[in-house]
Amino acid sequence: MNQIKQKLRYQSFPLGIYILLLATIAVFLASTQGSVSPSHLLNIARTAAPLGIAAMGQTIVLVAGGLDLSVGTTMSMVNLVTASIMNGDGSRIAPAVAVSLVLCLAIGLVNGIMVTKFKMQPFLVTMAMSIIVQGGYYLYTQGIARGSIADEMRFISSGWIGIMPVAVIIWVAIWILLSIVLKKTIYGRKLYLTGANPAASRLSGFHADWITISAYVLCALLAGLAGLMLSAYIGVASVDIGNDYTLNTVASSVIGGAAFTGGIGSLEGTFPGVLIMTILQSLMTILGISEAGKFICQGAVIAIMVAINQRKAGKQ
């Protein structure tokens, strides 16, 4: 018995969050009184995909000891840029995607370099970046969203392969890939080490700054992918469409156990975190308080989860 306790005490798998996820699903099913089919649940998962992908980026940055508040505006930017370049023409998917991702790469690089080389607070740097990106796409569009997404690309959000939505397949594939990178590779381990203690990491002869920069770049690229997925979902250009995602990615990561001190958190936790956030929001929509409920549960969930995590950390 004691041995099992010991094993459980130090296991790193975020079991509690999966239990919470099951509980959330149970509450959801109970409150909709069986009017929800399994495919409805999969559909919810489908709409969660953009958040799921962006939240992974946020988790990686949090693990590296940072924070990225430019995720949302980056997604908005990708939506506007992709839609305007593509303008419904399937043959222009490649340049549209390429331009979007190059812009994301640049955003991530600047964030990372400002944070590491100029030793500035991630919070402020990414906030300033967010304002700049927003200004950039306002200027680009002059405030009027133009363009639409080609049908071929909409497939990644609206398509189904067998019983699974394509969006969920893409999300899960990226999730598994990145989980392996974080857990099993030297790069992933160094990411955790650098986030946990940048000074010690530097004194270990790691290229600590570049590890941190890579986290911001990864995050921006994932935000770009999430933006593409979101664009495919709504099908048209829409100003500021992604801005709410910033807080949602932070919330999902935090529910999943990521801490703001760096070195703590995992994608295994963020995945159910995203689902919990999305299901709660669907529930609110069904109950008819979608906008308000979204924020109320966001606020309550973040505060309670962080309080619990802090307490747990304090005990150890």
Partner: protein, 314 residues
């Protein structure tokens, strides 16, 4: 002025210079800028941001941050819009309600930081979302009616000053004196310099921290009340941009995010600068969308500037 007041005031000097340069350039570039009407306009627009920046400053001084100010502003406009048009009793009731709710949000923030050891940014982001949700329940979209007498009163002019801007000035003067010339202010700066040290020096850091967040909440509520008079209605989203703008104003004004450094005076300059960007672009006929880029760039620039200066000092 001697002692640390002088050093803290020094932090505000770069922002003051930027502000003066902006004013000079704008008055040369556009003859519409230096008119009484335009100046009054700038100052009135500045009022809300200036007031909420005080709240942000308080939190930043102790090394914290208050992201919930935006929702407190929004919900305050809703209280005023919902109740004030019924008459004097409704007006005062709504004002007091706004302040009490602001204080309550601040109390939750403070207790979250002190009792549950939640990082300030997280707890205030949580309360920001939570209060925004409540605001949306109360009033899903812009509506209600603000007491006309109150709105007119806030718009009363004295030369280029409106009552709204004068409210901000009075609050600044008050907070400036409190922060620099009372034991409470001394303790606030001491906590920002190092919480552990402050504790060792016999300061009840927990109590002061909670007090700071409560005051921050109340001041944000005042900002909301002033804003409600300007827009004459309640709006659940109207405060949204103020969380980040107030941080930006404070940082541009030389307030350190690490706590213990800066003066509210700097935040006032920062707020004026941010409003000026908008106004100058309008009067020069430049696309208003540039303001975001300029705001962001200015924030980055101030960050680099202060970072380099402070690193050299160590």
């Amino acid at each position: 002025m001697r002692g640390s007041v002088k050093t803290q005031m020094k932090q505000a000097v770069p922002s003051m210079i930027i502000m003066v340069i902006m004013i000079v350039v704008a008055s040369i570039a556009s003859d519409r800028f230096l008119t009484a009407a335009n100046l009054r306009n700038v100052l009135t627009q500045t009022a809300v941001l200036a007031i909420v920046s005080i709240a942000q400053c308080m939190a930043l001084f102790i090394g914290g941050i208050d992201m919930s100010v935006s929702s407190v502003i929004s919900i305050s406009t809703i209280w005023v819009a919902m109740f004030s048009s019924t008459g004097a009793a409704g007006l005062f009731g709504s004002l007091i309600l706004a302040l009490i709710v602001g204080a309550a949000v601040g109390l939750v923030n403070g207790l979250g930081v002190v009792k549950f050891k939640i990082p300030a940014m997280i707890i205030t982001i949580s309360t920001q979302a939570f209060v925004k949700g409540i605001a949306l329940v109360l009033m899903p979209s812009s509506g209600g009616k603000v007491n006309q007498g109150f709105a007119d009163f806030m718009r009363t002019r004295f030369g280029i000053f409106s009552i709204a801007f004068l409210t901000a000035v009075v609050l600044y003067a008050l907070l400036w004196v409190i922060l620099h010339y009372t034991g409470f202010g001394r303790k606030v700066y001491a906590i920002g310099n190092g919480e552990l040290y402050a504790e060792q020096s016999g300061i009840n850091t927990k109590k002061i921290t909670v007090q700071v967040y409560v005051i921050s909440g109340i001041i944000a509520a005042v900002a909301g009340v002033v804003l409600s008079a300007r827009i004459s209605s309640g709006n659940p989203l109207v405060g949204d941009s103020y969380a980040m703008d107030s941080v930006a104003a404070a940082v541009i004004g030389g307030v350190s995010m690490n706590g213990g450094i800066g003066s509210v005076a700097g935040a006032l300059f920062g707020a004026v600068i941010l409003s000026l960007i908008n106004n100058i672009m309008n009067s020069m006929g430049i696309s208003p969308y540039y303001q975001y880029i300029i705001k962001g760039a200015l924030l980055m620039f101030s960050l680099v500037l202060f970072q380099m200066k402070r690193r050299k000092a160590v």
